[in-house]
């Protein structure tokens, strides 16, 4: 099968975003299947953004925020994100969509190796799950 997944990543610019930058500076490679977007805080990503990404064809959504309890630049953004996406995953399961298509990862700023590794892992996992459209020809 010559299908390649494509993924979206939302990174909090204070932690995971810095990790992504360090990955570039240190020439650490990660899968090219992901498009990373820096946002001010993972606590402002709405479930609507994520589901919209799926509707537009993303096969998975990666969210990187600050490791609790004390690393979030805005103190509690990571908790907000956790609650939202924990619930969203539950909801997706009820709709018959694999909750594993959302991956949450938590960082202390410059952990670029962790970023690269988790992204590669995630891409592999999504490859196993198959396309978001469930293989229906469009």
């Amino acid at each position: 099968m010559d299908w390649e997944p494509w993924l979206i990543g939302f990174l909090s610019k204070w932690t995971a975003g810095i990790a992504a930058e360090s990955a570039g500076v240190n020439r650490v490679r990660y899968s090219p299947n992901i498009v990373l977007i820096n946002v001010p805080c993972c606590g402002l990503i709405s479930p609507i953004h994520v589901v919209d990404a799926f509707l537009q064809g993303a096969d998975g959504v990666y969210i990187g925020g600050a490791l609790p309890p004390a690393n979030c630049h805005y103190k509690v953004g990571n908790f907000k994100a956790f609650k939202r996406f924990y619930l969203l995953k539950k909801l997706m399961k009820q709709f018959g969509i694999e909750p594993e298509r959302i991956r949450l990862e938590w960082f202390v700023s410059p952990q670029y190796r962790k970023l690269a590794k988790t992204i590669d892992d995630f891409v592999d996992e999504i490859k196993k799950l198959g396309p978001i459209t469930g293989g229906v020809e469009e």
């Binding site: 709405s46 509707l55 609790p68 908790f79 907000k80 939202r84 619930l87 539950k90 709709f95």
Partner: protein
């Protein structure tokens, strides 16, 4: 004489009966003529009815016949009123949106069903939209007033949405005095809580007020029942469930999250056992995730 038709697609049909009994609407109907209402024995071939001035449509498009009738009546009617939440968002009938027709009907009947259930507004453009399950008396009065304007001819230039559409919380009698500080102390079962008159969410009871349009004057809330979302999404709300998840994320246990950490929060969130049923009781066919799930089945 003004000619009226009542079209009941797949629905319980109660809201149209209620509309008929409303004194102001009834007066209009008495002065005109009802040319089509199969539920009350006024039947006829839509092809032979001729022009209709006002058609009230309630219900969802579940069967193929629903769709045929709907399209016919849009063609022959001057003004179409989408009446009730089912016709605009899917309502309770919409809860079958994710079931395959085979799960609902047997044998021959499967063929009579559409692949999924959709509200009227997904197929035609109504002129007046009246959400509510059922719409309240004030809204009916507003409808009567609007119809009077167009009775002798013409039709609204733009779609008319008959409820204000602002968020229910805005004028809620239980609104917290300082909404910025409001916190949901956990997720509780309503029968565990002795109601103390505060905002339901501040008592740990899920209330869909933050994402639902106000067209009911807080009817349920005044009778101590949290909002179930029957009026559909408020203005600016994209998707009732997803927006509600956003709100819950902001205010659930917000003063204790640093202590509870992720496992503690997860434990609390697990108490919400059926988010889909709770958030989309009246709007399932319109949910973004429904669209995604149906696309996987090849249904657009």
């Amino acid at each position: 004489m003004t000619r009226y038709a009542f079209l009941e697609l797949t629905s319980c049909g109660d809201c149209l009966s209620e509309l008929y009994m409303n004194p102001e609407i009834n007066k209009l109907l008495e002065e005109g003529e009802i040319v089509y209402w199969p539920a009350y024995g006024i039947v006829g071939d839509p092809e032979e009815i001729g022009e209709v001035d006002v058609t009230f449509i309630a219900g969802t498009v579940r069967t193929r016949r629903d769709l045929e009738e709907l399209e016919k009546f849009r063609r022959i009617s001057r003004i179409v009123v989408a009446y009730g939440t089912c016709s605009i968002y899917g309502g309770l009938n919409g809860l079958t949106a994710l079931l395959e027709p085979r799960a609902i009907a047997d044998g021959e009947y499967v063929k009579l069903l559409m692949p999924t259930v959709k509200p009227v507004t997904d197929y035609i453009e109504p002129d007046i939209l009246v959400p509510g399950c059922p719409p309240t008396r004030e809204v009916m009065a507003r409808l009567a007033k609007t119809l009077k304007k167009y009775i002798s001819g013409g039709k609204p230039e733009k779609k008319i949405f008959l409820i204000p559409g602002e968020v229910l919380c805005k004028h809620c009698p239980r609104r917290p005095s300082n909404p910025e500080k409001a916190e949901m102390p956990g997720i509780r079962d309503p029968n565990e809580v002795v109601d103390d008159g505060r905002c339901f969410i501040e008592q740990g009871i899920l209330c869909l007020g933050p994402v639902t349009a106000n067209g009911c004057n807080h009817l349920c809330i005044r009778f101590n029942h949290p909002c179930m979302g029957c009026m559909g999404p408020a203005r600016g709300v994209v998707d009732q469930g997803l927006n509600m998840i956003g709100s819950i994320g902001s205010i659930l246990l917000k003063s204790r999250e640093v202590k509870l950490l992720f496992p503690g929060l997860a434990k609390e969130l697990d108490k919400l056992r059926d988010p889909m049923g709770y958030f989309y009781r009246y709007t399932l066919p319109k949910a973004m995730l429904t669209k995604l799930a149906l696309r996987r089945r090849g249904v657009e």
